[in-house]
Each structure stands twice: as C-alpha cells, then as structure tokens.
C-alpha cells in the first residue's frame, strides 16, 4: 500500500522536542522524509544544504528568530523563495498578521490543537 506522504521531504522547525517528535513520527509513518530543526537558524541552514517540498514552521522559536523572521529570510533567499510553508502554532492569527501571511505566500496557518494529525497529513499530501 502506497503511503500518502511517500517521497515528501518535510522540514519541521519546532523547538519543543516532544511536539516535533510526535509530528515526525506520525508523518514518517505515513511515508514522509522528515527533518527536524529545533530553532530557526538550524532550519535556515538545513534549507541551504537540502531542498524540501514543504516547511512546517512554528511561530515561537527562540528570542532572536521567530517563525515570521524565518519566513522572511526564506522568501529573501532565491533557493527557498517558492518553498511552501505551513504554520503550525498555538497562537491565533491577529488581524495585522493576516496581511503578512498573504504577502509571503503561506500555504496554511493552523493552530496545533485544532488540527489532528490525520487531517494535517491529508493537507500535506496535497501541498505543492
């Protein structure tokens, strides 16, 4: 049986280990190739060395680089300019942030608690 995420290269930038482990295990079990970066700098470094089909990005990372800053740096870089980004966060989107999201070609914005893993896997399978 072909797994729904077979061949997908996913970069997960998430600082909490038990959260990132959970996502990694579930997505990997569905056939994805998951790389976990515990902070924004490492995430950006990984992206310089490897190509990813989709980036899952947490909003709160560390003090000097949050999710939005990572996104801005990605869009500024030729190699990651078009890479789909999905936000996975605990924060609801504020009104002024919607514009930022729209201007930076974000494929999705989800509150972690609101999106069960199977639903996320479905979404990732169709993200290009």
């Amino acid at each position: 049986m072909k797994k729904i995420l077979s061949g997908k290269r996913i970069l997960l930038i998430e600082d909490q280990v038990f959260v990132s482990t959970m996502y990694r295990d579930y997505l990997a079990a569905n056939g994805a190739e998951v790389t976990v970066a515990p902070n924004g700098d490492m995430g950006l470094n990984f992206m310089k060395e490897h190509a990813f089909d989709v980036v899952l990005l947490d909003r709160i990372l560390d003090e000097h680089l949050d999710g939005f800053a990572v996104l801005e740096k990605m869009r500024a870089d030729e190699r990651t300019k078009e890479t789909p980004v999905i936000f996975l966060t605990n924060l609801n989107l504020e009104e002024n942030e919607k514009e930022f999201i729209a201007n930076n070609k974000v494929a999705g914005y989800y509150v972690k608690a609101d999106i069960p893993l199977d639903v996320l896997a479905q979404i990732l399978s169709t993200t290009k």
């Binding site: 959970m22 295990d25 579930y26 569905n30 605990n90 972690k112 608690a113 069960p116 893993l117």
Partner: protein
C-alpha cells in the same frame, strides 16, 4: 428607586394633611358663623327691645303727665293747664308715630308693634273721652268710670308689652338653641365624613407606599435572581439614598465582587486551558501514532489505548469549549458574516455525524423535512453546524441515557415557517431538565442535577456556547422540558438580518 417616588409620598401626605385641615376648618367656620349670627340677633333684638321699652316709657311718662294735667285742669279750670295737657297728648301721638316707625323685622315684632299701637290709641282715646265728658259737665260717676277706663287701658298696655317682650325673648332663645343644635348636628356629620375620608385616604396612601415598597423589593429580587441565574454583567442602578438605595448599593457591590471573582476564575481557567493545549495536542497526536499500527499491541493494551483516546478527546473538547466561551464573553467580538443557508441540509449532515452514537444508544433520529421548500435564513454555516451538533448530540445522549427504562427512544427534528422566521425544533424523549434547573440551562458549567446523578459525560459548556452563537446569529433559542418525558429546543432564525446589534439580543427562555 427614583427620587420621584419620595416626592410623591411627600405630596400625598401633604394633600391628606391639607384635606384634614380643611375638613376641620369647615365645622369651625360653620360654628363661628352660627354663633356670630346668634350674637348679632341678640344685639339687634336688644336694640329693638330697648328702643320699644324707651318708647313705651316716654309714652307712659307723657300719658301720666297728661293725666295729671287734666286732673289739675278739672280742679282749677286753668286753661294753661288744659293747653299743657293738649301738648302732652300731642306728644303721645308723636310717640305713637315714632313707635310705628320702629323697624319690625319679625312677625312677632310686627304683632307686638300693632298690639302696643292699639294700646296707645286706646289710652289716647280714653283721655279724650274723659276730657270731653268733663267739658260737657258730665256727672262724677261718668268721669270716675272714664278714669277707671284710662287706668285699665294703661295696665293693659303695660301687660301687653311685657307679655310680648317675654315671648320675644323666649323665641330668641329657642332660635339660638336651635342654631346651636344645628351646629352640633353639622359637627357630627362633618366628623363622621372627615373620619371616613381620612380613613379612606390613609388606606390609599398606605397602599401607595406599600406598592412603592413592593416595587423596590421586587426590583431587588429581580436583580438577585439575575445574579443567581448567572448574569453578572448587568449593572444594578442605584439612584436613591434611602434604605432601598442602600440595599441596591449593597447588591451592586455584591455583584461587583462576584464578578471580580468570576472573572478571576475565568482568567485562571483560560490560563490553565492554554497550558493544557500543547500537552493535549501531543497526547492526541501520540494516540494517533499508536492507531496507525496496532498490530503489535495486546488486547489489553488496545483497550487501554481506547480509554486514553476517549479521555483525551473529551479533554481536548473541554479545553476548546472553555476557550470558546471565554472568547465569546470577551468584548468586541466581530459580527459573524452571514449568507443564506439551507438549514435542512446542515441538519442532514449533523444527523449523519451522530448516527453512530444514536445506533449504539438505540435512539431513532427522525428528520422531518416538509414537502414545501424551506426558506434559507441568513446564517453562518459553520456556526449553525456547531449549534446543531451540540443540540442533536445532547438529545441523543440524554434520550439514550437510560438504556432500558424508556419505551420510546426518539429524537425528532422538525421545522415550522412563519412569515419572517424559520423555527427548528429538536425534540427528544429523554430524561428532561428538572424544573429547578431550567433557568440555569444557558449558564456556564451547567449540568442538570439528574444528569450529574447519572454520570453522563459532558462539560457543561455546550448550551452556553449554543446560546452565544445563536445570539450572534441574531436568532433566539428557548426550550420546553418535563423531567422524564423529554425536552424540545426551539431555534428561531429571522429570515431578514436584524439591523440590531446581535450581541445585544438576549431573548431566550
């Protein structure tokens, strides 16, 4: 309480006092007038009597002198004395005229005047007769008889005037007594009337005051009931400084401290809930990881995984609901954007969602769609779905609560259209909501007492959420329920979006 009411009480008392004073004043004035007129009468009477008496005494004096002159004349034959007698008789006539001219106001007085006049005339006439007899040289016997006649006439006149004056005095007394009696009678009537009116007015006043008191008490009661019903938002108005104002102030400060406590509790719960979210997400995610492949698990492990899953999903929903409720309570909520929605289609999809649970609990879900097409009220589909999931799930849950005791286990969804609204009724044959719990149905963490006893699952936030959402959609929700017979929830959605702010609409029963 408004200060106006105190002014009203004050004026009522003022009016009653004024009426009492006037009622007391009337008999006093009547008495005074009566006494005054008695006195006036007495003065007038005295004046008349004095005048008549003096007239009578002048007359008598002149008469006596005239008589003496005539005797003197008969003794001496002196013409000068005869002339003096003539003068006296003329004076008698003058006095007679004077007497006649005296005012005679009453019939008795006229009678007296006439009697006296006759007596005077008779006396004058007697003297004339005596004189003419004397001049004619009549016998001593005749002259003697004339003198006797004169004396008799004089006595008669004196008697007349005394009898008449006595009678008049008696009459005056009688009239005075009658006036006083009349005053007494009037006094009695006035006292009775005044007493009756005072009694009536006091009763009316007492009623008014009692009403004002009872209105205030009712108001205070309404506010305490609101607080008891969970409404801590409505500010209790305090406008008076009297005892009721103090009561209201006390109620208001009670409401404020309650609100502070409730808000603190809400904030605390919100904080805790946020802290719960991440671990719960991890818990749920890991359960899902286990479920991807259960082949390596023993039966016991599978069962415990199931339990972990059920409890985790319940907790996830609880935290979500708590956060939704707290969000809904926060001010400045964006209005929900609405579009025409096919309500029966949404109901249909929700019925499918609950189908499995209904089957498990042996509850029939009947969705009755009328033949004529239903109107599409302006709604928000996701919000409507949230409302319906809550209500229909509840209906199934509480109808299936007692597995064996109910012969009819049915949930029915039906519709009713009015010219300006669509009504959706969700009727169940479940355990019902006990009457004492009914007014708290749409409050936070409400669990009906009979539900708690039966240990049904539920977090007590569903109906509060439903109510909030219905309010925001501009609809209304009410219910009818009889314990152990069933509950029917009625959702009413207007076909035209109200221009009113939906947040201010709290119509529900």
């Amino acid at each position: 309480m408004r200060p106006l009411r105190n002014i009203r009480i004050f004026f009522s008392i003022l009016i009653v006092s004024a009426l009492m004073v006037s009622l007391m004043a009337i008999p006093s004035i009547v008495t005074y007038t009566a006494l005054q007129s008695n006195e006036q009468d007495a003065i007038e009477f005295d004046a008349h009597t004095v005048e008549r008496m003096s007239s009578f005494s002048t007359f008598k004096d002149n008469f006596n002198r005239a008589l003496i002159n005539i005797f003197e004349y008969t003794q001496t034959g002196d013409e000068t004395v005869a002339i003096r007698a003539e003068t006296r008789i003329a004076a008698l006539r003058t006095e007679l005229e004077h007497f006649a001219s005296l005012s005679a106001s009453s019939e008795a007085e006229i009678g007296l005047a006439n009697d006296l006049r006759r007596a005077y005339e008779y006396q004058i006439q007697s003297i004339h007769e005596f004189r003419s007899h004397y001049e004619e040289g009549a016998s001593k016997e005749i002259l003697y008889a004339d003198l006797l006649g004169i004396r008799t006439a004089r006595i008669q006149a004196e008697q007349t005037i005394h009898v008449e004056i006595d009678a008049q005095i008696r009459e005056q007394r009688r009239m005075a007594v009658e006036r006083i009696k009349e005053v007494e009678r009037l006094f009695r009537i006035f006292f009775v009337v005044a007493f009756a009116i005072a009694l009536l007015l006091s009763a009316v006043l007492a009623l008014i005051i009692a009403r004002l008191v009872s209105i205030s008490v009712k108001q205070a009661k309404a506010f305490t009931e609101r607080i008891a019903g969970g409404d801590l938002e409505t500010v209790i108005p305090v406008s008076d400084k009297n005892e009721f104002g103090q009561l209201m102030t006390a109620l208001e400060s009670m409401r404020q401290s309650l609100k502070v406590m409730v808000d603190a509790k809400d904030d605390f719960i919100a904080l805790i809930s946020h802290q719960f979210r991440t671990p719960l997400t991890v818990l749920r995610g890991n359960v899902q990881i286990f479920e991807l492949d259960k082949s390596g698990l023993t039966e016991a492990q599978k069962r415990s995984l199931d339990h972990v899953k059920t409890v985790t999903l319940g907790l996830v929903k609880l935290v979500d609901d708590i956060l939704s409720v707290i969000k809904m309570n926060a001010k400045g909520l964006d209005p929900i954007e609405t579009a025409p929605v096919d309500v029966s289609a949404v109901v249909g999809s929700v019925v499918e969602i609950v189908a499995a649970e209904a089957l498990e609990k042996k509850v029939t879900v009947k969705h009755t769609i009328p033949n004529t097409p239903l109107p599409h009220p302006p709604l928000h589909e996701r919000s409507l779905e949230q409302i319906l999931v809550n209500l229909i799930e509840n209906a199934v849950k509480y109808t299936g609560a007692d597995v064996n005791s109910k012969p009819k286990r049915e949930v029915e969804i039906r519709y009713r259209t009015t010219p300006d609204a669509l009504e959706v009724a969700i009727a169940d044959t479940g355990i019902g909501i006990p009457e004492q719990d009914q007014r708290r149905v749409f409050t936070k963490f409400f669990r009906a007492s009979n539900v708690v006893i039966r240990m049904e699952n539920g977090n007590g936030l569903g109906l509060l959420l439903v109510k909030h959402i219905v309010d925001r959609l501009g609809g209304t929700i009410r219910f009818e329920s009889t314990e152990n017979v069933g509950t029917t929830f009625y959702l009413t959605f207007p076909l035209k979006r109200s221009t009113l702010n939906p947040n201010s609409d709290h119509t529900s029963s």
